[in-house]
């Protein structure tokens, strides 16, 4: 049969036409006019005791005001540690922390009532940065307030340094980053009431990434059974990690208000509120001490990682874990010691943001590799090429990289595609002999990086995710997972995987929206796990469903089961073909509903010890190299990125256009984190809490992009596919800083590389 596979082709995304015609319905498009509106009263202080909350001047009889005492005994978001209050009780720990909730029949009345709620505070001294956190935290009686900590030891660091010809030290810092998804957060909560109008549960629909996280948070909050809470995803206008944990909070608020007023309640954040209240990327400070041979060979790496966790634990332990596991970069080194800590501060909790800790530690190690190259008089390509992981190498956790290792391949492809070495040397030469003619300075920079696909360590073993496919009465095969599409193209990609796994056409497959009442828990939509892990489950479930139908077809035709195959939408036997729909219909009439499910199966022999950080940290790794070309104005130090070349090994490309779209979009976020995006703060208050002042790249800031996708398959993903969502966030910033260094001779250790920072670093270096 010469049918075409669906996997590997750039088919139109199923939601594409709704999105380009404006008919896709986002949260704010659903309920104009008929629901109640919730508004949040927030702390103006970074650290304070709540002296009193007075809502006596709220005169609107239809308004309800809730404070911590109305939440009940379980006043926390049930995530990793239950320390994140749904409404602050007694003490606030960051600006924007929710203190009270107000609900009213209209938004204007809710806002007016919220202004009438008077909260009195006794202001305390806040801790606002890693520097301040290292001095000590009043919340822990002046000691370090460590939210999470971990250590990795590999080889013998002292013997390693003893073998070194040269020891290189470096310290690298990164700042907050705001997700700036175009659709702000929003949730609608509809209470379910019994015959006596008592609250018995709630339905949530929201702009969110992880329906089962919200489900877990709400069953815990209300102490209700699984059936009492239903969570569905509305069309979601971007997430990037920002809608991983925070929807738990907004859903809890909306659900509490719905319980209080007995009505459907909507909470929609305006942009400013969204920026003030929700999570950001963790700021970081990473110290490196590296022992190298004269030829550039790494012999010892001592790494100390600090992350700023913000006010509460939220997802920080897991972010730290991914951060330290990526912190030695895509390089083999026999002796490695890594220590990681997350310290608390008095800012909004920092949380998930594409890359999840890895971009911070990869920025540091890539800048450190540049420093090593400079110290030894090598070029940036050569020092990376020498140390890049090869198949059979061992990582700092003792994991042997057995397959799908492409560090050298991506590096060499990036070099060839851009003539990197030659042009880097030319720019160096030109800079040293240049006259001050005011012309833009050209620079080129390169980075190499890796990114583990799927949950870290035992995460997948703990989740034990499920995915399913179901043959519907209309003879469509329906995909059932909790994986959300917030732009990546998940719905289309799942259809492709299932169509090929079953042997039907793409038209035969549809995707159910994530809905906790209808789909199994396939885990959160995070960690570059959707294609590799959940797609893998669907591939197995699809094959099972096909097998059941083939056995039926064989019995129907009096053949041995092996004599029937389902391919390209037909049951094939040596006697001929029967259309899929014909036989599927007979199956449903004879046997009734058909569902096939698959659950995660750990790789035999693969273990990870969370106490010692030894073992297989990830089932597979994606590999990437970036080459960034810049022009820097010699008078103003304004940087323009003029060209970007990315090489990415994603195992197998399921959809070339959407895969490239992940790489391009992610890399622009990475570049912008490197030179443009910065949260400025005063007394714990964000000074740039709007899109007018928090700048993200426009089309005018965007380079031309050359996107090269490499396929080095893994046995752990469907059709060999690995994750692609986060990999692109990892290499943009360090490549950009190397390019600025190549152009100006100024080496920065801190991002964003604003003109002011370049000037400052240039002066300091003189």
């Amino acid at each position: 049969m010469d049918h075409q596979n669906a996997v590997g082709r750039s088919l139109l995304r199923p939601d594409g036409l709704a999105k380009v015609t404006g008919t896709a319905l986002y949260l704010d498009d659903l309920t104009e006019g008929f629901c109640f509106h919730g508004v949040t009263v927030r702390s103006p202080h970074a650290s304070a005791l709540i002296a009193s909350i007075d809502s006596s001047s709220v005169s609107d009889p239809e308004v309800k005001v809730l404070t911590a005492k109305d939440v009940g005994p379980r006043n926390s978001i049930h995530l990793i540690q239950d320390d994140w209050p749904i409404l602050a009780d007694r003490q606030v720990n960051h600006v924007g922390e929710p203190v009270a909730l107000v609900v009213a029949p209209t938004l204007a009345r809710a806002q007016s009532a919220a202004r009438a709620v008077k909260v009195a505070y006794d202001v305390l001294r806040p801790v606002l940065s890693l520097d301040e956190a290292l001095v000590g935290d009043p919340r822990t009686n002046g000691g370090l307030n460590v939210l999470s900590e971990c250590k990795i030891a590999h080889g013998n660091i002292y013997q390693g340094f003893a073998q070194a010809d040269v020891i290189v030290d470096g310290e690298y810092s990164t700042g907050h980053q705001e997700h700036a998804y175009i659709e702000p957060h929003g949730v609608i909560a509809t209470p379910t009431l019994d015959a006596a109008s008592a609250f018995k549960g709630v339905d949530i629909v929201g702009s969110l990434q992880c329906p089962y996280y919200v489900h877990k948070a709400l069953t815990y909050l209300f102490g209700l059974g699984d059936e009492a809470i239903r969570v569905r995803q509305s069309v979601t206008g971007g997430g990037f990690g920002g809608k991983e944990d925070y929807p738990d909070m907004i859903a809890a608020h909306a659900a509490l208000l719905a319980r209080a007023c007995g009505k459907q309640v909507k909470i929609l954040y305006e942009r400013q509120e969204d920026i003030i209240a929700t999570t950001k990327r963790h700021p970081s400070r990473v110290r490196h001490k590296t022992g190298v041979k004269r030829d550039g060979t790494l012999v010892a790496m001592d790494i100390d990682v600090l992350l700023d966790g913000g006010a509460y634990v939220t997802l920080s332990p897991v972010v730290l874990s991914r951060c330290v596991l990526h912190s030695a970069g895509a390089y083999a080194c026999p002796n490695v010691r890594i220590r990681g800590r997350v310290l608390a501060t008095n800012t909004a909790p920092n949380g998930a943001f594409r890359g999840f800790g890895a971009p911070q530690s990869l920025f540091a190690v890539e800048r450190q590799m540049d420093k090593i190259a400079r110290t030894l008089g090598l070029d940036p390509f050569a020092v990376r090429r020498r140390n890049a992981y090869r198949e059979g190498d061992t990582t700092p956790t003792g994991q042997v990289l057995k397959e799908s290792v492409s560090a050298v391949t991506v590096l060499e492809r990036a070099k060839e595609a851009t003539r990197f070495t030659e042009r880097h040397a030319q720019n160096e030469k030109a800079r040293q002999s240049r006259k001050d003619d005011g012309k833009a300075l050209a620079g080129i920079g390169l980075s190499l990086f890796w990114h583990g696909s799927g949950f870290t360590g035992n995460g997948e073993r703990r989740l034990m995710s499920k995915g399913a496919v179901r043959l519907r009465p209309d003879l469509k095969i329906e995909v059932l997972t909790s994986s959300t599409d917030f732009g990546q193209g998940t719905e289309g990609i799942f259809r492709q995987i299932v169509a090929d796994a079953c042997g039907v056409t793409i038209d035969d497959v549809v995707v159910h929206i994530p809905d906790t009442a209808e789909v199994p828990d396939s885990g959160p939509t995070v960690a570059s796990r959707t294609v590799m892990v959940v797609g893998g489950l669907l591939s197995r479930a699809g094959a099972k469903l096909a097998q059941t139908l083939c056995s039926f077809a064989a019995r129907h035709d009096g053949l041995a089961p092996a004599a029937v195959a389902l391919r390209g939408g037909f049951f094939e036997t040596e006697r001929g073909q029967t259309p899929f729909r014909t036989m599927a219909k007979k199956y449903l009439i004879v046997h009734g509903p058909l569902v096939a499910e698959a659950q995660f199966e750990p790789t035999p022999g693969s273990t990870f010890d969370e106490a010692t950080y030894r073992g297989d940290a990830y089932a597979a790794y994606g590999w990437g190299a970036n080459v960034v070309e810049v022009e820097v104005d010699p008078d103003t130090f304004i940087t323009s990125v003029v060209n970007l070349t990315t090489v990415s090994d994603v195992g197998h490309v399921v959809h070339p256009v959407m895969c490239a779209g992940q790489v391009e979009g992610g890399t622009l976020q990475a570049l912008a984190w490197g030179y443009l995006e910065e949260i400025k703060m005063k007394d714990g208050r964000y000074l740039n809490d709007r899109l007018q002042t928090y700048l993200i790249p426009t089309m005018a800031d965007t380079p031309d992009m050359q996107t090269i996708l490499i396929e080095n398959p893994t046995t752990h993903g469907p059709f060999g596919a690995k994750g692609v969502g986060e990999l692109p966030m990892d290499g943009g910033a360090p490549a950009l800083l190397q390019a600025i260094e190549n152009a100006t001779g100024i080496s920065l250790a801190r991002i964003p590389a604003t003109p002011e920072r370049i000037l400052q670093a240039g002066r300091a270096g003189q």
Binding site: V20, G237, E478, V510, V657, A660, G661, T698
Partner: protein, 170 residues
């Protein structure tokens, strides 16, 4: 105080009664039920609410109702009257111009205005004209390419004629 205003909306004469300072975006979304235009920031920075006002791309969150009296307005809904999809929309979807889709209506309306001025735009013309409409997902590369495919400057990468009804969202 409410006043009555007349304008041409997506080719049809329309009359709206409302306060003169009502935001055009709210009039479109709430009073007229046209929810294709999105609100991303409410201060004219993101461009998700872009509509054509007398053929100029403007942020409808910044336009007061009184200003559109007698004007002609085109929203994203006006670019595909009935079920007819414009070539721009078809190519935009096929070539990966839309990911999360929240910027997409405003982006497409902006590009419509660009193409009126530059039927075969260079990248720098796109950068200049479209820079008021933000996209956080695509890195803009697939938006550039969609316009280049549409205007015959590049080969298509998307597979033509693929089915469209694969989601249960409707």
């Amino acid at each position: 105080m409410n006043e009555s205003y007349k304008f041409i909306l997506n080719g049809r004469p329309t009359e709206v009664t409302g306060p003169p300072m009502a935001r055009l975006l709210d009039v479109l979304r709430r009073d007229l039920g046209l929810t294709g235009s999105k609100e991303g920031c409410g201060e004219g920075e993101c461009g998700a609410c872009t509509v054509l006002l007398n053929n100029e791309a403007v942020c409808s969150c910044l336009v007061p109702l009184f200003q559109v009296d007698g004007a002609s307005i085109t929203t994203i809904e006006g670019l595909s009257p009935g079920d007819t999809l414009s070539d721009l929309q078809r190519v935009f979807a096929a070539e990966g111009g839309a990911q999360c889709g929240a910027c997409t209506p405003g982006m497409i309306v902006t590009i419509r205005a660009l193409l009126d001025r530059h039927p075969k735009p260079t990248r720098d013309q796109m950068r200049e004209y479209v820079s008021g409409t933000l996209c956080r997902c695509t890195g803009y590369e697939r938006i550039f390419r969609a316009v280049e495919v549409l205007t015959g400057q590049r080969e298509a990468e998307g597979v033509p004629g693929a089915p469209v009804d694969g989601t249960s969202r409707g």
